[in-house]
């Protein structure tokens, strides 16, 4: 199959990418603008970054968010990996297979409100721990989904050989299965970590007086347009992209991919 030539579609694609990227690009450019006004360019400056790094509220919120993300990722990976293993190796239940995606289908506002009510009922104080638990609920679903795909691609005969040779189940899992699926686990960890750092709605309802980074950004935006947010945006952009590129590099299949029909003649 030859490459279809469709100039109109290519122009459309360019316009679409402009729509997706220009707003973000403008924020990045404005983060280096010496002027407070978005419409005036007064020269290159790092003053908004300096202000940002002097802003103790922002720094504290970053710390809180990192603590939450690390803890929520750890919980999600443990629960998610066990769940993925159980589904792939221990059961043939279709309901369960589809059920693991359920937490991802529930709108954030519903999860947030549900947990807020629940925490109030069992008197679990709102704040860091409450958010960690909340994030691990959907983090587990993401981790299970990602680890599962890796497990499915794994040749079972290696595990079976280990079991046949008399190695018990747990050591087999730890020594054979776990190293084999570790790229999936690392990718899942990066995805859950990134999502936790960005998550706003559920944290907003379960935070109480705790201020996570997205909550801090939200209150800054509500307070008014300030170029400090542009600097925040630029740094977050860099950080997210580094994480995603990292996840891609780790999770990418090592073996050359099976060519699709028609690909060779392209």
């Amino acid at each position: 199959m030859g490459e279809p030539r469709r100039p109109l579609l290519a122009v459309y694609m360019g316009a679409l990418f402009a729509f997706l990227y220009l707003p973000i690009a403008i924020l990045v450019v404005l983060s280096f603008n010496d002027s407070k006004l978005a419409t005036v360019w007064r020269g290159f400056s790092l003053r908004w970054y300096e202000e940002l790094f002097r802003d103790t509220e922002v720094l504290l919120s970053i710390r809180t968010t990192l603590v939450i993300a690390i803890a929520a990722t750890a919980l999600s990976i443990v629960f998610g990996t066990l769940l993925a293993f159980g589904i792939e190796r221990r059961t043939r239940s279709a309901a369960l297979e589809n059920g693991i995606y359920l937490p991802l289908l529930i709108p954030d506002v519903v999860t947030g409100i549900g947990l807020l009510s629940f925490y109030a009922t069992i008197s679990l104080p709102l704040g860091t721990v409450a958010i960690i638990i909340a994030h691990s609920v959907w983090g587990t679903a993401f981790a299970a989904a990602i680890v599962r795909t890796r497990l499915r691609g794994l040749d079972r005969s290696i595990e079976e050989a280990s079991l046949d040779l008399g190695v018990r189940e747990v050591p087999t899992f730890l020594r054979i299965t776990l190293p084999a699926i570790s790229p999936g686990i690392i990718a899942a960890a990066l995805v859950v970590f990134t999502l936790s750092i960005d998550e706003f709605i559920i944290a907003y309802f379960t935070a109480g007086q705790t201020v996570t980074f997205p909550i801090q950004v939200y209150s800054m935006i509500r307070f008014g347009v300030t170029p400090e947010i542009n600097a925040v945006a630029t740094l977050m952009l860099l950080f997210s992209m580094a994480l995603i590129v990292g996840a891609y590099l780790i999770a990418r299949p090592r073996s050359p991919r099976a060519a699709r029909p028609g690909e060779e003649t392209a």
């Binding site: 419409t39 529930i106 549900g114 947990l115 587990t140 990134t194 309802f205 950004v217």
Partner: protein, 276 residues
């Protein structure tokens, strides 16, 4: 193996959902108290035209967002899926997904910078002498839909791409070779094959749009209120949790209806695929 995660979900997902369901049928007392007496008062109140209006407005904006995403996303998905080299396809896909990995609030904020009265677009228009007075581009339904489309477009393109990519191009060629005009080939051959992708994309966009809070808050400025804002207020400002729970329940019922509709559409498209 299954027990820890399922137990975790039972406690922190199923129980909270059940709690919201139950709270919706209790009375709200003074100072945010919940009076544990069963009542249908919250349901009656939720059916008040005022609240039904907000719900309807949310459904309308979310549906509009979904349709716009479909129209914008379909050509893009076709373009990416029909690239011959796997490398180009991957690169284009990554480019589509990347903005999605930047913080949602910040992407919403970008539109404030663009659209506000001292914003980039008004500045450009005034600079070019096209307008004398800055235009009010923010705080209306259009700004909210724009923000939602911008936020969720990648979620439409990905499933569409996945569906189109799986189609054997020879099927389309066969249709045109047999004399079908391109549009007809598209409608009768391609469309039934990509219905699952369309349905998935629509669900992915509609669900987070419907329950969205920050976009109507920041870009609608209270003038384009959606159900999420209403729920937010019941819980954090008015502190009428039973009524808020009823609103959450309404949202859930709506979404469940949507999922039923989804499976119905999928089943029909499969039948069409077999019959025709």
């Amino acid at each position: 193996m299954l027990a820890p995660a399922l137990l975790w979900w039972a406690i922190f997902l199923a129980l909270p959902m059940g709690l919201v369901l139950a709270t919706a049928f209790f009375k709200g007392g003074a100072y945010g108290a919940i009076i544990y007496e069963p009542t249908l008062r919250n349901l009656e109140r939720a059916l008040d035209p005022l609240y039904v209006g907000v719900l309807w407005h949310s459904v309308w904006l979310a549906a509009l967002t979904t349709v716009i995403c479909l129209l914008l996303g379909y050509p893009a998905a076709v373009y990416i899926a029909t690239r011959a080299s796997a490398r180009t396809r991957t690169l284009l896909l990554v480019l589509v997904i990347l903005p999605f990995w930047t913080n949602f609030l910040i992407r919403t904020y970008a539109w404030i910078v663009l659209l506000n009265r001292e914003g980039v677009i008004n500045g450009a228009l005034e600079g070019l002498g096209i307008v004398d007075e800055p235009l009010s581009l923010l705080y209306n339904d259009a700004a909210v839909v724009l923000g939602l489309v911008y936020g969720y477009l990648p979620l439409m393109i990905l499933p569409l791409y996945a569906a189109i990519e799986r189609i054997n191009p020879e099927v389309l060629e066969a249709a045109t070779d047999l004399g079908a005009r391109p549009l007809r080939a598209l409608r009768t051959v391609m469309l039934p094959l990509i219905v699952p992708g369309i349905v998935a994309g629509c669900v992915f966009v509609f669900v987070p749009s419907l329950g969205n809070i920050p976009v109507p808050e920041l870009l609608g400025g209270g003038r384009s209120e959606m159900i999420g804002n209403l729920i937010n207020r019941q819980f954090l400002t008015t502190r009428d949790w039973p009524f808020g729970s009823m609103l959450v329940l309404t949202l859930m019922v709506l979404l469940m209806a949507l999922l039923v509709l989804q499976s119905f559409v999928l089943r029909r498209s499969r039948q069409v695929g077999v019959d025709g």
